[in-house]
């Protein structure tokens, strides 16, 4: 929630990172994505919010144009598995080999075990997948953590 909306919460390596957000496919569930985008912005990230009903290609185009550090894909309506197929491959084709890829929302049709669902999406090349009901703080924490790890691996000059 936006309890501490005014305080940038992105820490260290995460500051000034650019993120692409959007809802993939024919999915119109915009509410959570919009709240997430606002929270990320309030946390100090630069956010390019593509909104609802965004084709996979548009995410990648936006990421190239803005030299983004991560793409956060939302999928709520149950077709996430179909819509996200080949997303990592498309990124690689576009030269975004290592871009951080998150996916979240209600990722499959029906109530399957989260372990199974997570495995599916990690197998598709997403760095993290988030279960239904994820709060924005958890996303910010994960981004901070991943950017920190990455900057440790690639020592800044």
């Amino acid at each position: 929630m936006v309890d501490n909306a005014a305080l940038p919460r992105a820490t260290g390596a995460a500051i000034n990172k650019t993120l692409i957000t959007g809802v993939i496919g024919s999915d119109t569930h915009i509410v959570g994505n919009r709240i997430l985008s606002i929270a990320l912005e309030n946390a100090g990230f630069k956010v390019i919010a593509l909104g609802a009903l965004t084709p996979a290609a548009d995410f990648i185009k936006a990421a190239i144009e803005t030299a983004a550090d991560a793409i956060l894909v939302s999928s709520l309506y149950g077709l996430g598995e179909l819509d996200c197929r080949g997303f990592r491959e498309q990124c690689i084709e576009a030269g975004l080999d290592d871009i951080l890829l998150y996916v979240g929302g209600n990722l499959v049709v029906g109530k399957r075990s989260w372990e199974e669902t997570e495995r599916t999406f990690l197998g598709m090349g997403f760095n993290r997948a988030f279960p239904p009901g994820t709060r924005t703080d958890a996303v910010i924490d994960a981004l901070n953590c991943d950017f920190a790890t990455r900057s440790a691996l690639v020592p800044s000059t």
Binding site: S26, I30, V31, L53, G78, L79, L82, V108, G110, K111
Partner: protein, 493 residues
């Protein structure tokens, strides 16, 4: 989406006027040509099919009967990717869930007229042995196959297809023997599309409404329904009712005479009862004002449309309380959810369970009404003031034409929708729950709500802000999006 065809439809100048029969014949021919199964739609055969249905499988009739005996009908949602799965689902909802109205929800590809993708989904589903689509691809199956769904049940069927592009699905649905169809030009366009203009959405539903009227001329009365839930996210009653009025007027102009109105529950005993009452009253008032004296407008209450708690016990409480609210509020029907709502599309079993919980709740609350309660009267008056102040301004902007009024008022923000993905509404209005649990408006955007009404809203919201020690502003709206989905440990430690 076949843009070429869609642009052809838009030739006639945009207005509220009934589509002339000749034009409509041309439009239908073009529409039905868009996918092979369209050729199987034949109105004469369909009319014969409808006339052969027993009364208790005709939704228009079932609604009137239920109203006469004071019953609140139950209806779930539900759609799976293959005919076999869908028959299984509908049978379970009918026989185990005792659903009074049995639904078929279409999948999102169908809604977006991506029938090729839907075809893929059917095949994937068959391979995977589970539904890979979030609904039933009705157009792909076509009217002959789809009719088997109606044969499988002993209740009326309704098509649920949240889309701005219902033209072919509606042809298939009504031809298959479904006697109800949910959706409307204003409501669905603002909640299911990003780029689609209101004009396009309304044109598409004018087609559908005109189709229902066509059946009427053949002696088949079909149920049409407006989905007042919009974006499902904290829609205050007045906003929902305004869209009900607009869409009802548009439908009536095309000749629809059996038009349901839906309202998402606010989860406030008094506010929901007042909303149901005033929806019925105000829609009728505006219909009469336009000279429509014979439109039947039953009201449907919808189980909580916002985010659900993950705990099944909490979800069960929302389901049962929702049944209570619909019954006490005097809704003609309730559309139900299940304890699986926060996770994904429910299993048939969970869906039937949601129906039974709701039905028992309706039984328990029978005979309970709030009419004589002063708070109820106050809330009714408040809703009236809100609706009338905005509605009259909307109509004024149309120079006597509701269709034009809608476009223009949305552009100006006079007509606005909370949390909409659509570019053609401002989505500046912000709702939030107040200190007494009423859904109120924290920021009206450009909507010209009566000043004294807004003062009541602000007072309740300021009391909540004070109590929680947060500023009066948009944060109230954001936390209200989460509220009902929070774990009990947080809600009531």
């Amino acid at each position: 989406m076949n843009l070429a065809v869609r642009s052809r439809d838009t030739r006639a100048p945009f207005s509220q006027r009934e589509i002339p029969a000749d034009d409509f014949a041309v439009m239908r021919r073009e529409n039905l040509a868009r996918w092979p199964t369209g050729a199987l739609v034949d109105v004469d055969a369909a009319v014969a099919r409808h006339k052969a249905l027993p009364k208790h499988k005709q939704l228009a009739h079932v609604f009137r009967e239920a109203e006469a005996s004071g019953r609140c009908l139950t209806q779930p949602r539900g759609g799976f990717g293959t005919l076999e799965l869908q028959i299984e689902l509908m049978t379970e909802l009918d026989k185990v869930g005792l659903a009074d109205i049995v639904p078929t929800t279409t999948d999102s590809y169908t809604r977006n007229e991506q029938w090729d993708k839907a075809q893929l989904g059917v095949e994937e589903s068959r391979k995977a042995g589970r539904s890979m689509l979030n609904g039933f691809p009705m157009v792909n199956y076509g009217p002959i196959e789809t009719a088997k769904l109606i044969d499988a049940i002993d209740k009326p069927g309704i098509v649920l297809s949240g889309t701005s592009f219902p033209r072919l699905t509606a042809e298939v649905g009504y031809a298959s023997g479904f006697t109800g169809y949910l959706g409307s030009g204003l409501a669905y366009t603002v909640s299911y599309t990003k780029e689609t203009s209101l004009e396009e959405g309304i044109r598409n539903y004018q087609y559908l409404d005109r189709l229902a009227a066509l059946y009427m001329t053949h002696g088949v009365e079909l149920h049409r329904r407006q989905p007042g839930f919009l974006t499902g996210t904290n829609i205050p009653p007045s906003i929902a009712i305004i869209t009900c009025i607009v869409d009802a007027l548009l439908a009536a102009h095309q000749g629809v005479r059996h038009y349901g109105l839906e309202l998402g529950q606010t989860l406030h005993l008094v506010q929901d009862a007042a909303a149901i009452r005033m929806c019925r009253v105000l829609v009728q008032e505006y219909l009469q004002r336009f000279g429509f004296h014979d439109v039947y407008t039953p009201v449907t209450s919808l189980h909580w449309m916002g985010a659900w708690p993950h705990d099944e016990a909490q979800a069960a409480a929302l389901i049962v309380y929702g049944g209570t609210l619909a019954a006490v509020g005097g809704a003609n029907s309730i559309t139900t959810k299940s304890t699986h709502e926060p996770f994904g599309i429910p299993t048939p079993k969970a869906n039937a369970e949601g129906l039974r919980m709701t039905r028992m709740a309706i039984y328990l609350a029978r005979n309970q009404k709030l009419d004589a309660m002063p708070e109820f009267q106050t809330e009714c008056d408040l809703i009236r003031r809100e609706v009338v102040s905005v509605m009259d301004k909307i109509l004024e902007m149309g120079d006597g034409d509701v269709a034009l009024a809608t476009i223009r008022s949305a552009e100006a923000g006079v007509l606005d929708i909370p949390w909409s993905p659509n570019r053609h509404v401002k989505s500046r209005i912000m709702p939030a729950r107040d200190a007494d649990g009423y859904l109120r408006i924290v920021d009206p955007g450009e909507m010209p709500f009566a000043r004294d009404a807004m003062e009541i809203h602000e007072a309740g919201l300021r009391r909540r802000a004070e109590r929680e020690g947060v500023p009066f502003g948009h944060e109230l709206a954001v936390s209200s999006v989460y509220e009902i989905s929070e774990m009990l440990e947080k809600l009531m430690p």
